[in-house]
Symmetry: C2
Subunit: 134 residues, 2 copies
DNA sequence: TGTTCTGTAATAAAAATAATTACAGAATGA
DNA sequence: TCATTCTGTAATTATTTTTATTACAGAACA
């Protein structure tokens, strides 16, 4: 679902987009109302993607590394749902049944279609757009 | 995610679309490789929606109640994800923070946008279309 | 009237998410 | 220098969600 990590990432980035200096993970966690460790983990993903920069040590924290208008939600989606939002069931369908044999491929194609539709829409929305709504 | 119940429903309907008479839940469960009770539960939802008809008792089972071309995946999606695929986190964000105060509405809007994009695509695909691929 | 289906409730097991604890290392500055 | 306050990350626990199982009443049929 689009919540969970995706919502967390959006919240983090929108918050950072509004703040001047380095923002501590505990502060961000206080705004989202989740555990600071989860924030740090998500930030490490965002950092790997080049969206944020982090300063360790006292008075440290994170800040945006690019302009908010450069962060599209489609990028975020791809980073976070690397393995596809619409994942496989791990129960192997019955291969002796014609439908069971084909359903895997059918669902795969469907997932691709669905994700493409989603990404196309998310591509048009940036963190700046969300920021404008705050 | 699009799997789980959604994939189950699609599998059930595609199977029923290929079969002549009433199909038992245990047979369907054997094709999907899940528990028959889950199949019966999902069928009860599909029945409430008017897509399938069920015959109880010996030699009973389910069959399609409408033509496969009349069942669009967008309909299925709506039936199954009544409360929205992209649901809320139940942690209330910090209302003393400007971002925390607005993020709920922002995510709600985003979810609507995302679902609309998804539904638009799913609207163009029917069970008949999937059947043609089997 | 026994057999074989369904419907559904209740419970248990498994998987996915989120929270917490713990601690080493980095930067700061008194 | 060294106490303080940050981060990063591993390990564990707790919670929630999803799936599976068990159980049994009722329907239809031969």
């Amino acid at each position: 679902m689009i919540n969970g990590r995706f919502a967390t990432a959006i919240h983090i980035l929108t918050l950072l987009a509004r703040e001047e200096g380095d923002v501590a993970s505990s502060y961000i966690a206080g705004s989202i109302n989740i555990n600071p460790v989860l924030v740090r983990k998500e930030i490490s993903v965002l950092r790997d993607a080049g969206f944020v920069a982090t300063q360790e040590g006292k008075n440290g924290g994170s800040r945006l590394a690019v302009r908010p208008s450069k962060i599209r939600l489609s990028d975020l989606y791809k980073i976070i749902y690397r393995e596809g939002l619409f994942t496989h069931s791990k129960n192997m369908p019955n291969q002796h049944c014609a439908v069971g044999r084909r359903i895997g491929t059918i669902m795969d194609n469907l997932n691709v279609e669905a994700e493409q539709a989603l990404l196309k829409r998310l591509h048009a929305i940036s963190i700046q757009d969300l920021l404008d709504k705050v």
